[in-house]
Amino acid sequence: MKNKKRVIIPIGPYHPLLEEPEFFSLYCDGETVVDVEWEAGYNHRAIEKLSESKHWDQVTFLVERICGICSTSHPFAYCNAVEDILGITVPERAKYIRSIIGEMERIHSHLLWVGLAGHFLGYNTVFMWAWKYRETILDMFEMITGNRNHYAMFRIGGVRRDIEDGDIPSLRKVLGEMEGKLEMLTRAVLDDPVLAVRLKGVGVLTRRDIKDFGAVGPVARASGVDFDVRKDDPYAAYPLVKWKVITTGNGDVFDKAVVRLLETFESVSIIRQCLDAIEGKKGEIENQVREVPAGQGIGRHEAPRGECFHYVRSDGANSPVRHKIRAPSYVNIPTFKASCTGQTISDVAIILAGVDPCYCCTERVAVYDAGNKKKLYGFPELVEMSRKKTERIIKGEMK
């Protein structure tokens, strides 16, 4: 049995679109998933190697393109790492601006996730609404940084663009509106009876699982592990503002949704405090960095999906000699082994989505019958089954 399972037939389509495309095989016994296997490394873009051929400032833009959704988390961690080598801190204003960008990104990333989760469950209205609200944040990004994504705000030693006083009122207005929408969305999720039946107790990860797999971010916090780089290893403006780490205890998909939704409120409050701190003031936004001495540094940032880690080594020349990157999805995805096993196939789509991996990653799912290893379902069918299950619950056929 065990040996037979090792036969993995890679089933396409391989869209080398986003980062981290993986290959999943679900082994099922009837409706129940008995084992999950995954493989990564189908889309090796050689970012780490490429970064050794770019000079320090250029690498910021390279790593920004690792992820299309949380595009600022990599430059954030990278700049932290290089500043660690340099032993400098950035000017206070730059710290606030960095945190504002990081938190705005968290809001839009979490909203994107809420939308996708609704989509998988067959709640397409949630999908439309969440993405509609997210759009206003993206417009704010365009206003402040000049682009909806790939903000190019980070620079070793500070930030590249200032947030002008003229832009702050409209940002505040959007935050105010956003809070109302988030409130509506959160309450709708919290007291929706169908969602409760559908998500509670599904894909549970215990504290033990989190420790075993080393999971990070909202996935860990939903299981009661209050690990958050912003608190545990403070950087940028996070120690200067008041906020709290959101944790819940059940570790199921419902709690992961709750953690994400509540985190957006914290983000709104962090942004507000940062805006208060920079409004009407002038200040330096960057420290000039002439050269990077030999040495090594690590940089971390709490990306929307969890801890993003960069290690950079310099020999005093123009480009890094080693640049190691660990994205949060990389440690979160193996938790599927614990969370999917024993669940029904129709729950798999939402459990996989609960970790918030890139969508294209999960495009490669194939379901095998544990007996004969025949491919049964692809990811579209899984999503379809997931929606059907929700419908059945709504109609009262299932509890």
């Binding site: 770019k54 400032d57 250029q58 833009f61 390279l62 393109r65 209205t125 609404w129 509609k132 759009e135 417009d139 365009e142 206003m143 402040i144 940084t145 000049g146 682009n147 790939h150 190019a152 590249r160 663009r161 509506m184 309450r187 709708a188 007291d191 929706d192 009876p193």
Partner: protein
């Protein structure tokens, strides 16, 4: 059970009666934000052709081609929007400050890439001996102006200056063929100048 439905109904009604959130983009023009980072464009007047933008571009979206034909040199800088990240490093590092500027143009879909490329041409100053590129004429003039009196420490800049104020008689640029000591002060590339330094009056090295 009842209350949440009302709350969502309100939002649904509000969405129903408000204008569609999406825009009818190709029909109505889209106005990007004020600080939008769009396609970079060269400025004929202020770009001096130094090539710094070409060097700093993280994605190698700018090409620099030095062409030498019939003893005349031309430097062509071409910006390829298809490779551009719109990061603004070129604008930031431009030595004159506004030789290349990010515009607000976002519509750069094309059938023929040449339609959207931006290019700028500069005259090159060539070594009178070996024909190697010394630099863009405009760049050297820019450096000369920037350095002021300090420019008189550099023979090429001196000869540019004397040329500009019409002091040049032509004698300073006469070449005997072989590189010799007097060529130190003429318009020669660093390689030839080094050669001139180590030759004695008789032209022997």
């Amino acid at each position: 059970m009842k209350k949440p439905k009302i709350r969502e109904l309100c939002e649904a009604l509000r969405s129903f009666f408000s204008r569609p959130f999406t825009t009818t983009f190709p029909l109505t023009a889209h106005e990007p934000a004020k600080k939008f980072r769009g396609k970079p464009e060269y400025n004929e007047d202020t770009c001096v052709g130094c090539g710094a933008c070409f060097q700093v571009c993280p994605s190698k979206a700018i090409d620099m081609v030095d062409e030498i034909k019939d003893g005349l040199g031309r430097r062509i800088l071409i910006h390829h929007p298809k490779d551009c990240l719109f990061c603004g490093e070129c604008e930031r590092n431009c030595i004159t400050g506004d030789g290349i500027k990010l515009s607000r143009i976002f519509d750069i879909a094309y059938f023929d890439e040449k339609d959207v490329q931006d290019r700028i041409e500069h005259e090159l100053l060539l070594c009178k001996h070996c024909g190697q590129v010394i630099g863009a004429v405009k760049h050297l003039t820019w450096i000369r102006k920037k350095l002021g009196n300090l420019a008189f420490s550099q023979p090429v800049l001196i000869s540019r200056f004397t040329g500009e104020i019409r002091l040049a008689t032509g004698a300073e640029e006469s070449f005997s063929g072989e590189t010799d000591r007097t060529d130190i002060l003429k318009t020669v590339c660093p390689g030839c100048r080094r050669l001139a330094f180590i030759s004695d009056e008789g032209g022997e090295r």
